[in-house]
Symmetry: C2
Subunit: 328 residues, 2 copies
């Protein structure tokens, strides 16, 4: 992902930490799913942001591996519970916990994961622990609010684009912001720096989610990991669909709503038709513009931290830029 | 419940705290269920134990209303999630959250409740906050372990009585122990006192659960709040059934196993038959002896705190004794 060796080295240490951390022993049904979901991998972008953000202020980010791991464990707890709610059969190409075990195991094992996330935050200086947990709590509650809004939106006929942006800010972006802020807090950054790093994270987080929406429809199938068009097939209320529903009039509106209402269809045909409508209505362009606005706001904030001699800054820039330009 | 005015006064303050605390605003589906489950009442025994335990060491237990409320919020979080897992339709005679809303709402709203429990612990002195959260985490993980063991046992043919006692220790008793320890920690009690109060709580907690098992079968229907015999009707693996399965031989074993296997039966007839077997096999007596052993061990520990002039001690003794002698 990057030429700078810092990120891969920190990621190695993080994997080692996560795979050797003792989440608990018995009963197996409670603790095996935690080890299982963490073994499925993922980019570990959130803990990496914490480590690099700390590196802007202090040497040896491996000192905060535990707190960085807390963010990853929390993130995976949300995935375990979201997968139950979304009835998702697969996570990173493998069976989800509620499929491999059952929903009750996924509920309870997820609950313990959340508790363990707090354990992982504890090796922090006493004078900032309270503030750190308070901010973590706020973020955690916001992530839950985002998930609830997401579920609510799926049942609503109309969702305004601002509501959608607010939902993805809560569900996805605030945790990226907090990951950066956590590293900055532990690195003893000023409150102003903490806030700017948080805002950088939130901005790129919203951008990343819009990018996800775009890739799901317009990615190059040869490079994309999963089926292109999945969101169109399932009528997922993405930024693209929300804008298309707002802008389509006359025949376009009829065609779009017919496709959304159809229970039986050829998936390829539906994807092709809706994709064409997205281009025709200009919603692809609108989404790209919106995404780029968020990326720009984010990177303008990051630039204020520019330290050419600090390898953590370089790495932070590289890995976030790589995510901006990813094709899968 | 008690003649001493301390407990009712503290309970009033606690209710007021819980009903005015802001758990969050939007979306409604996330926060209404929290207010709903807390409005269903309950004895609030756990937070009361924290407040009274604090009172053994410091005046004005209302100083730790927030931390006491954390215990009650955590307890109600476990009820919300357990009710999903147990597919329970009713909680304190009212619809459970997953029935009134749906399972997804109960999962996510429960998750936020757990987060809010941590928020409520935060107004604690910085020098003990870390230790306090660490102990809370251990207790929380143990409660989850107990719930998982309980679910596992329901699917097993044989459960040993020691396994059962360990399950109820984890699922029920450790939280009573921690509630007392929390008050003691905040009251700046010695580590030895903290441990003795914890052990008192665990012992009476195991006793209370055995009392629940006994009341469900042998309570006076006129005084008992719910249907006597519910555990027998549902084949619940209580201490009584576990011991009966161990001790029944020959015809008794056949009769017991026939009742357990029957899909269609007259509930009254089943309750009567199994109850008679429990008496005949002596398992009622065995359960009562076991329960009384735990109560005795508990109260011997509590007596070491005897302070005739301390009204909080008197209240602690009164309310726990009232639970020992309850008939519903």
């Amino acid at each position: 992902m990057t030429k700078n060796p810092i990120a891969p080295e920190l990621l190695d240490k993080l994997e080692n930490f996560l795979s050797t951390y003792s989440f608990g022993k018995k009963p197996d049904e409670l603790y095996d799913p935690i080890r299982y979901i963490l073994s499925l991998g993922g980019k570990r972008i959130r803990p990496l942001l914490s480590l690099l953000s700390y590196g802007l202020y202090q040497d040896n980010p491996e000192k905060i591996l535990s707190q960085a791991a807390a963010i990853e464990v929390f993130h995976n707890f949300t995935l375990m519970h979201d997968d139950i709610m979304d009835e998702a059969p697969l996570r990173r190409g493998k069976a989800t916990v509620h499929e491999k075990w059952n929903a009750n195991v996924a509920i309870l094992s997820g609950d313990v994961m959340l508790v363990r996330a707090y354990d992982l935050l504890l090796p922090s200086p006493a004078d900032i622990l309270g503030k750190l947990i308070q901010e973590f709590n706020q973020t955690a509650a916001e992530v839950c609010e985002g998930q609830q809004l997401d579920m609510n939106f799926e049942l609503r006929d109309e969702v305004h684009e601002d509501e959608y942006i607010e939902m993805i800010r809560l569900k996805t972006a605030v945790l990226l912001g907090f990951a950066l802020k956590l590293g900055a807090m532990l690195g003893r950054a000023s409150e102003e720096d903490q806030k700017r790093l948080y805002d950088f994270g939130v901005n790129i987080g919203v951008g990343f989610q819009l990018k996800d929406d775009l890739l799901d429809v317009f990615a190059d199938q040869a490079k994309f990991g999963k089926q292109v068009g999945g969101d169109i097939i399932s009528n997922k209320k993405t930024f693209l669909l929300i804008k298309a529903l707002e802008l389509a009039k006359g025949e376009d509106e009829k065609v779009l709503k017919d496709w959304l209402a159809k229970k039986e269809f050829d998936p390829e045909e539906k994807v092709k038709a809706v994709k064409e409508l997205y281009e025709k209505l200009g919603v692809r362009k609108l989404a790209e513009n919106r995404m780029n606005d968020y990326f720009q706001s984010g990177f303008e904030l990051l630039e204020t931290f520019a330290q050419s001699e600090n390898p953590y800054y370089q790495s932070l820039l590289e890995i976030t830029q790589a995510l901006v330009h990813r094709e899968k």
